[in-house]
Point group: C2
């Protein structure tokens, strides 16, 4: 087992990465203060992982309130969040209660936000069960829910007490979810580490075969890269925004199709191709770099052709992006492979980029 | 104008206390980063104070989105909060937008929580227009909404960029609201400053006459006392809980009667008499001290007789208090005048205290 430590002053926490650590008391006990635990998971995971974790906690003498939510991004709403509050209140949860979020990004974001708001904040432990959640949503304390007018519009920066990332659970992940998770892994190479990008080019086949050592390295390196960025900018006032590479377009795709049609990682994968194309059109990266990014994303099995909305619809969907300032669209763009920045882009260049992304060009026209 | 500075590291902020500072640009401008301002107020205040503030901001060249909420504790709900989110999104508010909360405790709590959650946090300035909000809710960053199962159950600790407390607005406050605010003023003396309690005994009549200098001193001293406590314990892990004196019983009264029947300060006033009586019964303070507290609260015009619920109902209502640990009720109790602590109390002693509080004894039986 590897332990990464996220250094955020009084909000520091460890990330445990290893195989079969899901039911290891040693990963949980140092981070549980009280007697009462609220274990939040979803209907798909409850029997496979929820019950073993619950049993482990009961064996430790804890009182466990199991809260089972419906599965899927469509349920990442105030309504479901309020269900969590209701069940916490009925169970008599108080400020000494520890919440454990067991699941993918949706459970992590929503249960984390519940922990942030319940009685103005209770302790929580994140146990991500998807590759996406392990490499992305479990690092950095972003929690929240969707609003009908925009994804993740309501939320908080709230750090867990610990993150427990078990490699073994990834072997039961549907392939589509594994592929979606690879989008964020690739993103970390693109925006912050060209050497890791090269490693991914060489190991994408092994990752798709679920080779354990390759997965463990990809998770570790992703968490390290993201942790290094979050440690410099916990509340996303500057640098941290580069982790949004591909997300301006990606969020527009997700919202435009309706949440849940494409997985978040799929939308981000396609969005990264679009953001790389925009960087190329702005003259910021060269054609060869754009092609390498396009090729790796395609090799990972991620979509590279954008859904066919109108340009106007794309602009409308992108208008609510959290990076925008005073009404102007802001994008994460590339200076070169391994280095990103946040900047604007002329409307007509974005428009052309959108058109070509919907037509799946093999090279930029 | 007096400026108190709340020292909370990177979350430090000033509290301006003065007359006719409501429309003073100098109090606002240093704390507004962007061009767009969301001014949140209620239907009662919008013409009297909302419009002048809006005009001042427009004259400064700012874009102002006015958000007017219904007035009253009954509206401190998720539903109203979501209205704020909707209007912020429709107006295109982004992370550079500054939210101004203009109103009493309900507006401050709700708009502050909206600022805490909108896009995971935007800047906000608090402009409290009631005595209660000036001496209590504007200091310390507590924000939140009520849940059908408990008051302020959902919320965040989120600090404003500045607090602007204008003494002049207190002259238009209905007497019942002024009296309610005095409850928290008295509380600060009881739990933390015996000398201030003596000052209040000598000046309660002047305060009730709205004598400006007396009000200004009461606000200043209350903010100083609360600030000193919050600076030591921002997230209420220990010391800060003493500011909850009277609130265990007070919240039970509010919830039991239905929010809005008694004002928060009225419930706290009565709750303080009950908490002082409990401290007396536990042998922690003497009869004379209990009598002084009872007398001052009564002199302020606050209720001193508890609503006649059954004992069981009181215990049920108190069971959701945020101070409770592992199912056991916790109370803020007095060691002596000016010193409080958090502790438990035997069920039968609480029961007898409740019975007597409902019967309005002049002295403890």
């Amino acid at each position: 087992m590897i332990t990464l430590r996220l250094d955020l002053g009084e909000r520091s926490y460890p990330i445990y990465i290893g195989s079969d650590i899901l039911v290891s008391p040693a990963c949980y006990l140092p981070h549980i203060s009280g007697h009462h635990i609220a274990l939040v998971t979803n209907q798909t995971l409850v029997s496979l992982y929820g019950e073993p974790v619950r049993k482990m906690l009961l064996d430790l003498g804890k009182q466990v309130t199991l809260i089972v939510l419906p599965d899927g991004e469509a349920f990442k709403t105030w309504h479901t969040l309020n269900e969590v509050f209701d069940q916490l209140l009925v169970a008599g949860a108080d400020r000494a209660t520890t919440l454990i979020a067991l699941g993918g990004g949706v459970i992590g974001d929503m249960a984390g936000f519940a922990a942030a708001c319940y009685m103005r904040g209770i302790a929580f432990i994140q146990v991500p069960t998807t590759l996406l959640a392990q490499v992305d949503s479990s690092v950095g304390g972003k929690t929240g829910i969707n609003h009908p007018r925009g994804k993740n519009m309501i939320g908080a920066f709230y750090q867990p007490r610990a993150v427990i990332a078990d490699m073994h659970v990834l072997t039961t992940l549907p392939r589509r979810e594994l592929v979606a998770g690879l989008a964020e892994v690739i993103k970390h190479g693109v925006v912050a580490d060209a050497a890791f990008f090269v490693w991914l080019e060489n190991n994408i086949a092994a990752l798709l075969r679920c080779q354990a050592s390759a997965l463990a390295y990809a998770v570790q390196r992703s968490c390290e890269i993201k942790a290094a960025i979050v440690m410099q900018d916990e509340r996303e006032s500057g640098l941290r925004a580069i982790l949004n590479f591909g997300h301006t377009f990606g969020h527009a795709i997700e919202a435009g199709l309706g949440y849940g049609h494409w997985l978040h990682g799929e939308a981000v994968g396609c969005g990264m191709v679009m953001a790389a194309a925009l960087s190329r059109r702005l003259g910021s990266i060269d054609e060869a770099t754009y092609q390498r990014i396009h090729r790796l994303i395609q090799a990972a099995g991620l979509p590279v052709v954008a859904p066919a909305f109108t340009q106007a619809r794309y602009f409308e969907l992108m208008a609510v992006d959290k990076k925008n300032q005073e009404g102007a669209l802001r994008f994460v763009l590339l200076s070169h492979l391994g280095l990103a920045y946040v900047g604007g882009a002329a409307h007509e260049i974005v428009a052309v980029t959108l058109d070509h992304a919907m037509q799946a060009p093999s090279a930029l026209a």
